[in-house]
């Protein structure tokens, strides 16, 4: 009798859990299809004619080697090739913000809802 009850409880718990998850998976998919419009943007293949050109690959590295790797990438690849991340000093000044542009002398019209 005890074995029967334990078997039943285990079956009900697992069955209910799995049933709820499957149900949520089904209806959340329907929900996304029904209520989300145009949830896609141009990706890699839309903007690049060729796949990524891999210039360095290493497998099985230490989990904490990320920062060393990024530092090496910057110092041993980017900088020797004339690329300086975060350096914008080469940009020219001929790119004014619109706030810097001169205002027009005479407004083209007087808006009706001008509260100012």
């Amino acid at each position: 009798m005890v074995a029967f009850i334990i078997k039943l409880i285990v079956a009900i718990l697992l069955g209910t859990g799995a049933g709820t998850i499957i149900s949520l998976a089904i209806w959340s998919k329907f929900l996304a299809k029904s209520n989300v419009l145009g949830d896609s943007a141009g990706g890699f293949n839309e903007y690049s004619d060729s796949p990524i050109d891999i210039i360095w690959r290493r497998n099985g590295v230490d989990s904490d080697s990320k920062n060393t790797y990024f530092k090496r990438f910057k110092e041993e690849y980017l900088i020797p090739n004339g690329m300086k991340p975060g350096d914008y000093s080469y940009l020219d000044d001929e790119f004014p913000d619109y706030e810097d542009l001169p205002e027009v002398d005479i407004p083209l019209f007087k808006p009706k809802n001008d509260a100012t």
């Binding site: 209910t16 709820t20 949520l24 360095w56 790119f95 913000d97 809802n113």
Partner: protein, 390 residues
């Protein structure tokens, strides 16, 4: 700035259906190229006049290019917009004229909403509060992207055990005709979803195409354009580099991106309809690509309908699965130490993996739903203005 009718002097409006300018007063149509453009100085070739309104609610700036008066904020739907100033705007090199009319845009949205099973009844019978055609400024750039990516993945070792491994991948990619939204007031993730646009249909810029529409202006510095290109290129590289690692459950942990853009970037205006409606006191803004008719936005859902269907399905599945599992457990106990038991156990392991994947899928979908809904709700517009360009 206003284009005037050569017959009666009335204001002209660009008609996307006929692809011609139309006089509301006398009904005459004109080819855009036939309407006179005054001779411009070199300075006028670079800059043009515009009228700027500011929204009291979200701080968004609305640029009006003809004699129309702005009455609603195009970003958050708030009616409290005030005329701010007349200013100069950088003249775009090209423009993609609207090919979807206002009526078509509303119809597209109505059709998409009607097809939405979980869209609340109130939204299904929406009346648009405002429908505004806006030319969004974009930069089209060619980018050389360099990226160091740090990834993890599951592999099976020599002892048949699963372990997590870490990988380094450095690569470069060339992105051509990359679109970068040049308006800080519009969230980049929203404007990216409006793509694609048919860039082969771009026309040399002519103010007459703006007649009857609003336009936004570039407010990015050159450094911000490079940062936007870097962010966008990094996103695309991250998606693609995952396939460069041969392992299971590959995850990108972090990346170090660097992007260079060529000097031959082009400043263009691309068309979009902003449709604002109210739902339970909150404004919702849906965007319709003015070229392709693609709709972008997320609607709140009918919670009662969703919950009742989920609970009903869960109940039916739970009874069936519990019944099946009860018997499976019985078989397992009865045939313990046999091949059948090990087969059943293996099946259960696969089923458990499938359920785990389903849980992850549900969580991801609901998280994504929530974030895209926040983009549609105007309360996030404030964040658009403040947080844009990372």
């Amino acid at each position: 700035m206003a284009s005037l009718c050569q017959n009666c002097g009335g204001p002209l409006i660009y008609d996307p259906i006929k692809e011609r300018l139309f006089c509301k007063m006398c009904g005459t149509h004109f080819d855009v190229r036939d309407v006179d453009v005054k001779d411009r100085t070199e300075y006028e070739e670079q800059y043009m006049d515009c009228n700027i309104y500011v929204c009291d609610h979200c701080g968004g700036e609305i640029i009006v290019n003809d004699t129309e008066v702005s009455t609603y904020c195009i970003y958050c739907g708030n009616p409290a917009v005030v005329f701010s100033r007349v200013a100069k705007q950088r003249r775009p090199e090209f423009i993609l004229p609207f090919s979807v009319s206002q009526e078509q845009a509303v119809k597209i949205l109505q059709m998409r909403i009607k097809a939405g099973f979980f869209v609340p009844y109130k939204i299904k019978h929406f009346k648009p509060e405002s429908v505004r055609g806006i030319y969004i400024p974009y930069w089209i750039v060619n980018a050389e992207h360099y990226n160091a990516s740090f990834l993890s993945g599951k592999v099976t070792n020599d002892n048949d055990n699963t372990e997590t491994m870490y990988f380094e991948r450095t690569g470069k990619a060339t992105f051509k005709n990359l679109l970068l939204d040049a308006s800080k007031a519009l969230n980049d993730y929203t404007s990216e979803k409006l793509e694609p646009f048919d860039l082969t249909a771009l026309q040399p810029f002519n103010e007459h195409y703006l007649a009857g529409f609003y336009s936004d202006m570039n407010d990015l510095t050159e450094q911000e354009i490079i940062n936007a290109a870097n962010r966008r290129s990094d996103d695309m590289f991250r998606q693609a580099v995952v396939s460069e690692v041969h392992a299971r459950n590959v995850r990108l942990i972090d990346s170090y991106p660097y992007t260079e853009i060529n000097d031959d970037r082009v400043y263009v205006m691309l068309p979009c309809w902003f449709i604002t409606m109210q739902y339970n006191g909150e404004p919702l803004t849906v965007l319709i690509n003015g070229d392709t008719g693609k709709a972008v936005g997320t609607f709140p859902f009918d919670k009662k309908r969703f919950l009742s269907l989920t609970i009903l399905t869960a109940a039916v599945l739970s009874v069936a699965l519990s019944y099946a599992l009860y018997h499976v457990i019985g078989y397992l106990i009865y045939f313990m130490n046999s091949d059948l038991a090990s087969d059943i156990l293996q099946f259960l392991v696969y089923a458990f993996a499938g359920i785990s994947a389903a849980v992850a899928g549900v969580i991801n979908r609901l998280k994504r739903f929530r974030s895209t809904l926040q983009l549609t709700k105007s309360s996030q517009t404030l964040h658009y203005v403040r947080r844009r360009q990372g």
